[in-house]
């Protein structure tokens, strides 16, 4: 006799004794009717409930004994199965017994019975094991979708369920998908603004990315006249791994610019809003992996600026010159922290051709850019949804983007004693001028959402935190982008 049963008996005895005493007292002191009503209300109905509870507790206690006896066999035998069947007969809500029973049917490959018992166990229990076992049955039957569903439920309940993790990973690889390789690669988080990690693409792999960027700049590099320009950039990048250590890429961009332009009509200054859009300069990317070991890689790159943009528009869409940006990039995996990326680029600017524009000669200073980024991936288990699309991972990105721009020197047209950037009529003269350079440092937080199908969505903001006396940019840059890997 277990203590639980003892307690149950004591409670029942006490309750009925109390009720009988009270009934007798009512009968003696007041009326028969009242005592009968009291007995009915307090003795019969709750008594029935207590009896039922007690019987149930008693049955479940017996069921536990059967369960323990079954556990002591643990050999998937008929005897063990009988023990659990007795247990669930006595206590139909005994989840553990249903689970063990399901597992025995599973071991005997009686799939239907196993599914039924494990489903019952999953409904009754808060544990992950019934779902994992059920998922294994679906896996063994080749029903991967159902299996994935059960394993994900198991991982929602217990994210460290290693059996569910292992099975889920197996199914992801078996179900499909040759894209797994690229998917894994897409899971290597890359910086949002500096965009050049130390890794190169594997041979035959293609990466396509698209970013929409908005900024408001005070002065443009290709026409360093102080004026406010709103710039929308749509940057497309296509990169391809020619070999396992050498990749090429082409990065064209579409620009839409809206500038406040000062024009001179005679000696009168006119202010106009000038909007232009069109193809900007295109960059050709060449990148060679110098050294790679496990998750650490060094690469050298050369970006070649192709002047596909129209430099004569106001404001200009291109630089009008071929220019070269050699660089060095480094990436590594920091255990338990994430990925660290760093790169350096030097932008060799070239003097303008005086024969083409003898009256407007400006040599922008060289640029030196340096970036460091820390990307922290956070795997999301259970695939939460973002805009109805399941998200597999989340990456937090923090970057420091710095650029040092040298002084720009040259001549500019003087009209009426003022600098002008636009065509006009009237007398002109040339003035030697210098535009100061300086160091600009930006802090750039961002987030990347990883989706199934090798998709990545990224959002970032670049905030200037250190600007020179005569800054070129003072306001944040906003960027939204999407990346997709292809075979």
């Amino acid at each position: 006799m277990t203590p639980q049963r003892h307690r149950g008996k004591e409670v029942i005895t006490l309750y009925f004794s109390l009720c009988l005493c009270v009934s007798v007292v009512f009968y003696v002191l007041s009326s028969v009717v009242f005592s009968v009503v009291f007995s009915a209300v307090f003795l019969f109905f709750p008594g029935q409930a207590i009896c039922a509870d007690y019987a149930k507790a008693n049955d479940c206690a017996k069921a536990k004994e059967w369960y323990q006896q079954g556990i002591s066999f643990s050999d998937d035998s008929f005897e063990e199965m009988t023990c659990y069947q007795k247990a669930v007969e006595l206590c139909p809500e005994y989840a553990e017994a249903h689970e063990r029973l399901g597992n025995i049917f599973k071991a005997r490959q009686q799939w239907d019975m196993a599914v039924k018992e494990l489903q019952l166990a999953g409904e009754m229990s808060n544990g992950s094991d019934p779902h994992t076992s059920l998922g294994e049955i679906y896996r063994m039957q080749g029903q991967y979708d159902l299996a994935i569903q059960e394993f994900q439920i198991a991982l929602d309940i217990r994210p460290l369920d290693k059996r569910a993790q292992s099975n889920l990973e197996y199914i992801y690889r078996m179900s499909g998908r040759d894209e797994e390789e690229e998917e894994e690669h897409s899971l290597i988080p890359s910086p949002i603004f500096s965009r050049e990690p130390g890794f190169t693409l594997p041979m035959g792999k293609t990466l396509f990315d698209l970013q929409l960027q908005y900024s408001q700049i005070k002065r443009e590099w290709i026409a360093p006249v102080e004026r406010s320009v709103n710039v929308w950039k749509l940057i497309t990048g296509i990169r391809y791994g020619l070999t396992n250590s050498f990749m090429v890429g082409v990065i064209p961009k579409m620009l839409w610019k809206n500038a406040n332009v000062h024009l001179w009509e005679g000696s009168v200054e006119q202010k106009y809003q000038s909007s232009v859009y069109g193809l900007g300069d295109t960059i050709i990317l060449l990148k060679q992996c110098l050294w790679s070991r496990k998750q650490t890689s060094w690469a050298a790159s050369l970006n070649i600026n192709i002047p596909t943009g129209d430099e004569n528009r106001i404001p200009p869409l291109g630089s009008g010159k071929y220019e070269f940006m050699p660089g060095l990039a480094f990436s590594t995996s920091l255990r338990n922290i994430g990925y660290l990326h760093a790169n350096l680029h030097y932008f060799f600017t070239r003097q303008r051709d005086e024969t083409l524009d003898p009256g407007y000669r400006l040599d922008p200073g060289d640029e030196f850019s340096y970036n460091i980024a820390l990307c922290r991936p956070v795997p999301l288990i259970g695939a939460p949804y973002f805009l109805s699309v399941p998200v597999t991972g989340l990456v937090g990105v923090v970057e420091l983007n710095g650029v040092y721009i040298g002084k720009s020197r040259g001549y500019e047209k003087i009209r009426g004693g003022e600098a002008s950037t636009g065509p006009g009529t009237g007398s002109t003269s040339l003035r030697k001028t210098t535009y100061p350079g300086g160091n600009t440092l930006c802090w750039s937080p961002g987030v990347q959402l990883l989706f199934y199908g090798n998709m990545k969505l990224e959002l970032g903001i670049q905030v200037p935190i250190l600007i020179p006396d005569d800054p070129w940019i003072t306001k944040p840059v906003y960027q939204i982008g999407v990346t997709r890997f292809f075979f």
């Binding site: 556990i71 002591s72 643990s74 050999d75 998937d76 071991a107 005997r108 490959q109 896996r139 063994m140 039957q141 080749g142 460290l160 290693k162 059996r163 993790q165 292992s166 099975n167 990973e169 197996y170 690889r173 078996m174 499909g176 998908r177 040759d178 894209e179 797994e180 390789e181 690229e182 998917e183 894994e184 690669h185 899971l187 594997p202 041979m203 035959g204 792999k205 396992n244 250590s245 790679s292 070991r293 496990k294 998750q295 795997p379 288990i381």
Partner: protein
């Protein structure tokens, strides 16, 4: 008248004589019958060791040579303060007993004893199921038992500490229900022994050529020799088998074969300190830590030497084989099927480990776990293995040496490529080999398992693993089936001289 009286007296005297005679004959008959039916007196001193002492009252057995001096047969022994059976310095057989709910270990083998523990059910002890302890040499065979739900290890070998009974426990019985002591052994303090049957059952078995008790592996080094066969060891509170000698100059020879060791709270088998361990044909699964863990303890104790072959090791929450503090025996780790473990399939340390012809599938979890994972720098010998679907990578090794002729597939998230086993992208190669390059004979392609969904990792006839191993006579296939193709080594468990055959649909032993 007188004559009549004399005749009457004579008749009465004759009748009296006849009565006396009848009485005397009856008494003599009774005495004779008593002599005939009375049992022989029990021998209490059995130092000659020729007759077994039967505790159950079963007919005496005529056994000679290495036969046990004491047979404890078919008893139900429970609720004793310390242990059910304590064997010291004697040859004892414990058979077909049910031993449960004792205050410490179910059976204790101590001090130069030789014990055969066979076909018992040993469960729910406060300590280990069976403890082999003491500084002396001992030889123990543990065969065909069910050892489960004990609060400590199922089998504990090499223990030093004396048993301690928790103060709060109150047991009805005696310190040990049976103390089988060498020299002048006595049976004292019998608590409750209920005979379940009077049949003697199986005869005790002799030894089968294994290492003998008292073998010296070094001068002055005593040994415990333990042979564990056909047991089911499960649901214990610590490891299924804990083999850890706590005495200096003391070593354990452990042979475990055909056992099912599962769902133990602290791993399947734990080995530490000086021990030579051979594990063969065991099923070690679903334990809450590593399947087999061999570690070096603190101090100057030598590291254990392990030979692990032809085992199925699956579903353990940590690594399948955690051998970071062990060295390889002459066989090494061969022809094991290791799958679905939560950590790495095989994890080893600085020692030179020999890992051959294993099939290692789907080990690891989201944060860790490779097929084979080396922790410290050394040059192992890793060949002829199949490593597939492992999480972090297939082979994580410290140097570009010591491995060849392995087959990799879909490890480290590298996808299910490649059509050409000998050509793949660098990315894939990095993922499969943990950043290393492949060596001679290494392949990256589908191993062609029969039905991996059903955990059937046997090879299809078209598998590239067939005849893909090292082309050397030393590794040639000798058993067809399970080996296929020619004599050149098949990669995985079905290849090589120790090829291993199993039925994935067979019920768990």
């Amino acid at each position: 008248m007188n004559t009549y009286k004399k005749q009457a007296n004579h008749r009465s005297t004759e009748a009296l004589r006849a009565k006396y005679l009848t009485l005397l004959c009856t008494c003599a008959s009774l005495w004779f019958i008593c002599l005939l039916v009375s049992p022989a007196p029990a021998q209490t001193n059995n130092s000659q060791g020729d007759q077994p002492q039967i505790v159950t009252g079963s007919p005496p057995q005529t056994v000679t040579g290495d036969s046990p001096q004491i047979v404890i047969l078919d008893n139900e022994i429970y609720a004793n303060n310390v242990s059910a059976v304590n064997i010291q310095g004697n040859r004892v057989s414990v058979e077909k007993c049910t031993i449960y709910q004792n205050g410490n270990a179910g059976i204790v083998v101590d001090n130069d004893a030789q014990a055969l523990i066979q076909n018992n059910r040993i469960y729910s002890q406060e300590g280990a199921g069976i403890t082999v302890m003491g500084a002396g040499s001992a030889q123990v065979s543990i065969i065909g038992n069910q050892i489960h739900q004990n609060k400590m290890a199922g089998l504990q070998l090499g223990s030093k500490d004396r048993m301690v009974v928790p103060v709060h426990r109150s047991f009805k019985k005696n310190p040990s229900v049976i103390l089988a002591q060498g020299g002048n052994q006595t049976n004292k303090g019998f608590g409750q022994i209920s005979n379940l049957s009077k049949s003697l059952g199986d005869k005790t078995k002799g030894e089968d050529g294994k290492a003998k008790a008292g073998d010296k592996i070094q001068e002055g080094l005593t040994t415990i020799t333990v042979d564990i066969q056909n047991n089911r060891i499960y649901h214990n509170g610590e490891s299924g088998i804990k083999c850890q000698s706590e005495y200096p100059q003391h070593s354990i020879f452990l042979t475990a074969e055909y056992n099912a060791i599962f769902q133990n709270r602290k791993g399947g088998i734990l080995v530490a300190n000086a021990a030579k361990v051979a594990l063969r044909n065991n099923s070690i699964y679903e334990n809450h830590k590593a399947g087999v863990s061999a570690n070096r303890s603190k101090g100057p104790s030598p590291i254990p030497q392990v030979d692990i072959y032809q085992n199925i090791i699956r579903g353990n929450e940590e690594s399948g084989l955690e051998l970071t503090g062990a060295c390889s025996g002459p066989i090494g780790v061969c022809n094991n099927l290791i799958f679905h473990n939560g950590g790495s399939g095989i994890r080893f340390g600085a020692s030179t480990m020999r890992i051959i012809n294993n099939t290692i599938v789907s080990n690891g979890n989201l944060s860790q776990g490779s097929g084979i994972d080396q922790q410290e720098k050394s040059i192992p010998f890793i060949a002829n293995n199949i490593l597939a679907y492992n999480f972090k990578t297939g082979l994580n090794i410290k140097r570009q040496k010591g491995y060849s002729h392995n087959l990799f597939f879909a490890n480290g998230g590298s996808g299910t490529c490649c059509d050409d086993c000998y050509s793949s992208s660098k990315f894939t190669e990095n993922k499969q080999l943990g950043g290393r390059k492949r060596n001679q004979g290494d392949m990256i392609c589908d191993p062609g398992f029969s039905n991996p969904d059903l955990f059937d990792f046997r090879l299809n006839t078209w598998s590239p693993a067939i005849d893909g191993g090292i082309p050397s006579p030393e590794f040639e296939d000798l058993h067809f089936p399970p080996s296929q193709g020619g004599r050149q080594n098949d990669m995985g468990v079905t290849g090589g001289p120790l090829a291993f055959s199993w039925d994935p649909n067979a019920p768990v032993p």
